[in-house]
Amino acid sequence: MSLKAKEVATQNGQPEASYDVIETKLTFRQYPGDRFSHESLGLSVEDVADIYRNMLLQRRFEERSAQMYGRQKIGGFLHLYIGQEAISTGSVYALKSGLDSAITAYRDHGLALALGMTSNECMAELFGRVDGCSKGKGGSMHFFSKEKGMFGGHGIVGAHIPVATGIAFAHMYKNDGGVCICYLGDGAVWQGSFHEALNLASLYKLPIVYVIENNQYAMGTAVDRASAETDLFKQCVSYAMPGSLVDGMDVFSVCQAMRDHVDMAREGQPSLVEIRTYRYRGHSMSDPGKYRTKEELEAKKNEDPILRLKSYLIQENLISNEDLDVLDMEVKAEVAASVTFADESPFPPPEAIYDHVYTQEDYPFLT
C-alpha cells in the first residue's frame, strides 16, 4: 500500500498532485446450509438425537413459558428464542463442558438449556422462586450457572461483551486451556462496547469467539435500518480477526463453524461469527411484530431448524418415527414437570432481599 501522491501532467503543463488507490483483498468464510452432514461432522446417531432433543426441549420449554406468562406465573419481560435453537445447541457442541465458558444477552433460555442447566431450575427462575437458577433474583433475562459455565443472562444490550472478553482473559491468564463464546444480537453490534471489546481481544490474543445471532431485527428495527454495513461479519476486519458467515437454520452448519472457530480461540486467535437466524415470536411478549409481514414470517417458518433436522433424521433413517414420538413425549413430560416443580418451589422469604448483595456476611445495610 502506498499513499505517495503521483504527479499528473495537466493541460497547462503544470504538475498536479493526485491520489493513489489502495486495493485490499478481504476473505471471509461462509458456512451455508445443507453443506454438512452428521457424518462429515463425525457425529454419532446418538449425538444427533441428543442435538435434536436439546433443540426440541428449548422449543417446548419456551412455548410453555409463554403459556405461563399468559397465566401471570411469570413477570417482567419474556424474550423467546424460538427459531434460533440451532445456534445455542450447535455451538455448545463445540465447547468442553467444565472448562469452557459461555455468556449471552437477555434472550438466554435456549443457551441455558443447551449448556445443561435443568428445565426445573430455569422454569423456577422464571417463576421467581428460591429453586431458580438465580434464586429468584434474576428472572428471565438473568440466568446464571457457575457449574455449567453459564456466565449469564445480561439485560443491557452490549454490556456483557467486555465482560465476556474478561472471562477469556482469565482463561488466558490462568493458562487453563478454556475458551469463551460470547453471544450477542445484531442490535448489540452498534454499541461501543462491542468495538472496544473486539479490539481488546485481538490486542491481547484472547481465546474467545464472538457470535452475532443476527435474527434480522433489533427489537423492531430491521438490520438495514440500523446498520450502514449489513454484512455484520465484516466488522472483524477492523479488529484484525477472522470472520465467518453461517446459516443459523442448519444446526450442522453451526456445529462446523463453531468447531472451527473454537479451535482458533483455543490457539489464541479471537474471531467473529455472524450466524443468520430468525426469531418467530416478537421481541418480547408485548410485541405484535408489525414491523414484518406475515409472508416473511411464514417463509422463514419453512426453514425451521428443528423441522429441518427432523426431516434429516427421517430421510437418513437415523431414527424411527416411533422413537421420535417417544422423544417428543419425554421432552413434553420434562417441561410439564418443570412447571409443577416451579409452582411448588417457595417464593424467597422477605429477609432474602439482603442476600447476595455482598460476599461480606455482616454488611451494615441502611434500614
Binding site: 438465580s134 433474583k137 467486555p162 472471562i167 461501543g192 448483595v357
Partner: protein, 327 residues
C-alpha cells in the same frame, strides 16, 4: 514507620499484594510502559512483566468490563482509571455489572476487583475534569467506596480493598499523590474497610471530611484551637459502608457538626451524613448540622472562580463558629 508519598503508598500496597497473590493484575491506560500518568505504577511493569501489568487502549468501558469478566472467572483485577472523570464512559460496567451481577446470579459469581484512580478537584481543568463521584457510586448497593486522605490510610485500605471479595471503588486525588506522610511498616499492614478515623479529639464541634476535605477540616480545627476550642475531626475513610457509630458517638459528645464535602451539594455524601445525624442524634443537637460543599455549579476554569467554587478552610472555620453560636 517510613515516610512515603501517597503515590508510593498506593504502589507499595499493589506491589505487596501482587507479590502475595498471582491472580492479581493491574490494567489501565499508561500504567505499564509509561509508568503511570501520575507515576503511581512506576516500575511495576519491570517487576511483574507484561502479563500482570497491562496497558490498554483508551477504552474505559471495554477494560472496566474486561476486569469484571476476569473477576467472574477467578482473577483479582486492579483497574486504574487515569481519572474518575474518564470512568463515566464505563459507568454501565460499574453500576450495572459490578454492583448487580452477584445479586442477579443468586450469589454464584463474586467480583473481587478494585477500580482506582484520582477523584474530585484537580485544578484549572474546567468542568469535565473536576467531578467528585463518591456520592454517585455510594448510591449503589453492591459497591464499596473508599476515599483516602493520607499515605498510611492509602496503603492500609488499598490492601484491604484488593483482598476484599466485593467490588471496591477506590478514590484518590491528583493533588495529593505527592503528599508525604508516615506509613506503618508493620508486616501485612491493613486497615479494615468501614472504620472511620478520629484524627483529633475534641468536645466543641465535630468536623467530618474525607480526602482533601479532611485537610480543610483539620486546618479549621487548628484555627478553632487558637480561639480556645477543641474540635473533633473525623475522616470517614470509607464512604460505603459508612461508620455511623463513630460519627454518631462523636456528635452525641460535641452536640454540633459540620460536614466538609468537596462534591456538589445536592444528594451528596454530606446530605446522607446530615440525614443520619438528625435521625440518630436529634435530641443531642444544639444546632442544625452545617455543611460546606463545592458550589452548586459545574467546576469553572478561571483561577479565582475555582477557588471560590471549592470549600475553603475559612468557610469551614466560619461554619464551625456558626454552629457554636460564637458570631
Amino acid at each position: 514507620m517510613a515516610e512515603l508519598q501517597i503515590r508510593e503508598a498506593i504502589r507499595a500496597a499493589m506491589v505487596e499484594e501482587m507479590d502475595r497473590d498471582e491472580n492479581i493484575f493491574l490494567m489501565g491506560e499508561e500504567v505499564a510502559e509509561y509508568n503511570g500518568a501520575y507515576k503511581v505504577s512506576e516500575g511495576m511493569r519491570d517487576r511483574f512483566g507484561d502479563r500482570r501489568v497491562l496497558d490498554t487502549p483508551i477504552s474505559e468501558n471495554g477494560f472496566a468490563g474486561l476486569g469484571l469478566g476476569a473477576a467472574m472467572n477467578g482473577l483479582r483485577p486492579i483497574i486504574e482509571f487515569m481519572t474518575w472523570n474518564f470512568a463515566f464512559v464505563a459507568i454501565d460496567q460499574i453500576i450495572n455489572n459490578a454492583a448487580k451481577i452477584r445479586y442477579m446470579s443468586g450469589g454464584q459469581f463474586s467480583f473481587p476487583i478494585v477500580f482506582r484512580g484520582p477523584n474530585g478537584a484537580a485544578g484549572q481543568l474546567a468542568a469535565t475534569h473536576n467531578t467528585s463521584v463518591e456520592a454517585l457510586y455510594s448510591c449503589f448497593p453492591g459497591l464499596k467506596v473508599i476515599s483516602v486522605s493520607n499515605p498510611d490510610d492509602a496503603k492500609g485500605l488499598l490492601k484491604s480493598a484488593i483482598r476484599d471479595d466485593d467490588p471496591v471503588v477506590f478514590l484518590e486525588s491528583e493533588f495529593m499523590y505527592g503528599m508525604r506522610g508516615e506509613v506503618s511498616e508493620a508486616e501485612d499492614y491493613t486497615i479494615p474497610i468501614g472504620e472511620a478515623r478520629i484524627a483529633r479529639e475534641g468536645d466543641a464541634v465535630t468536623i467530618i471530611g474525607h480526602n482533601k476535605s479532611y485537610w480543610r477540616a483539620l486546618e479549621a480545627a487548628e484555627m478553632l484551637e487558637a480561639d480556645g476550642y477543641a474540635a473533633e475531626v473525623i475522616d470517614p475513610r470509607t464512604i460505603r459502608p459508612f461508620d455511623w457509630d463513630t460519627v454518631i458517638a462523636s456528635v452525641k459528645k460535641t452536640n454540633r457538626c459540620v460536614v466538609v464535602d468537596e462534591s456538589n451539594p445536592f444528594a451528596s455524601v454530606s446530605s446522607e451524613i446530615a440525614f443520619q445525624i438528625q435521625a440518630q442524634a436529634f435530641d443531642y443537637l444544639d444546632a442544625p448540622v452545617h455543611r460546606i460543599t463545592a458550589r452548586d455549579t459545574p467546576a469553572p476554569y478561571a483561577k479565582n472562580l475555582m477557588e471560590y467554587y471549592l470549600p475553603s478552610t475559612e468557610d469551614v472555620y466560619r461554619a464551625c463558629r456558626a454552629v457554636m453560636y460564637l458570631d
